[in-house]
Subunit: 138 residues, 4 copies
């Protein structure tokens, strides 16, 4: 697994801001998803390939702390660190969202997903080919 | 088809308001969908039953005019009038959204959907049992 | 504070379901917000009144666990328990979301908000009139 | 005004797809907004500058036709053509959304906005400095 986090850039949209002129808190979780999708693509494991191999990746838990608000038209960066559990069943993404201009930390959090076999309707270990990628054994 | 429109009540949520303190325009289209779902359920044709009969109902076109804005915590009413085309392929929903307190007209518009057979991947006429319901021949 | 949780009913909408036919996880957090708004209104402290008294209530942290998925057209119930911190600065809402039909537990979580004075740009204690309501000393 | 449309690229996200595996129709209107924001920025008139000059730009009407669906992970392009009315009060954005791979036309539509003075609470003509930019008299 790479030591440096994956970086995803986003500019805050009008529709993401609330009456206070700041980002409505739930949208940060939408950015977590996009950042995670791009982080997996960059590792060489696009989500579409996971799906086509017969797995899905439901979210099992998440948490977030909101330190400072992002504002309309701010450019922000989502740092994503992906790790896989020893059991090979769970992927955890650790996130830090910063304002690009001054690197101010806005939001921190994590999302955990599990490899799930929809046929058998239960969590399963990731196959070896995915593990090699997720563990950086390339 | 009933002459009176179906009425759907909604209270404007915090997350639906933008920096101006008014509803972000795209959310009115979300309310169109909920109102249409409930209008069909009331007619006796829940969308789930349409799906289970092997049809889907993609939206083919829509339009909306925004006359006055709704504000946070306003109670609004979506009036929906459902009609089916002569060919039995298209459903059109005509909408008026009003503020409940004074009946002020906020938004008008329509959404057209078509009966679609995903197996044959093309638009089809609605089956007779649906037509009887949609045309009010009960 | 009442011992029984506030109950908010919702029927899962088409737009809330993802490609798997289950609710996309972020929407549960939208329901948390609506449920909290209605819980505060029921206690006698509508969010609009909080705003009009010169306070805002930003979310400072949240967490959620996803046990079982909700599906299209399911009727679900959000149970909300509201509590106020000893310092009177923070409100915590504890949530359980259940499928109404069989009371199956789908999601659990919490959201913490703080009383915030936008003029002075810092967290503050809730005023006594709010505390009496939030602590149930009526 | 430039003859070539502004081009905005987007990759379809998981949360934008519905149970049919295609983009839920309302999200195309979200993309209209982002494309319009970037088109105005490219012309040299960022929305933030419009706001800071004391105007807002509410949407007055919109329409869309859905020709073919976009699917998960598709790369799509939103073409935007911006024009200003003779009266200088209304901006219209004409849109074509295509799948990048084969240029298949997915969605067409338009959104009309008006220059609005929130102080006087009524539509107004755009100031000359904005008109020069919007009419391409540079």
């Amino acid at each position: 697994m790479p030591d440096a986090p994956h970086l995803y850039r986003h500019r805050v949209r009008f529709r993401e801001c609330d009456k206070m002129g700041v980002v409505y808190h739930v949208h940060y979780l939408d950015w977590f998803e996009v950042a995670r999708t791009e982080a997996l693509r960059d590792l060489g494991l696009p989500y579409k390939q996971i799906e086509e191999s017969g797995y899905i990746l439901p979210v099992t838990d998440l948490a977030a702390k909101f330190h400072q608000p992002a504002r309309y038209d701010d450019e922000i960066i989502v740092e994503t660190r992906v790790s896989i559990s020893k059991s090979a069943v769970r992927i955890t993404c650790e996130y830090v969202i910063r304002r690009e201009a001054d690197e101010l930390k806005l939001v921190t959090g994590h999302v955990t997903l599990c490899f799930f076999d929809p046929e058998r309707s239960r969590p399963v270990a990731a196959p070896d080919e995915f593990l090699r990628i997720l563990r950086g054994d390339r």
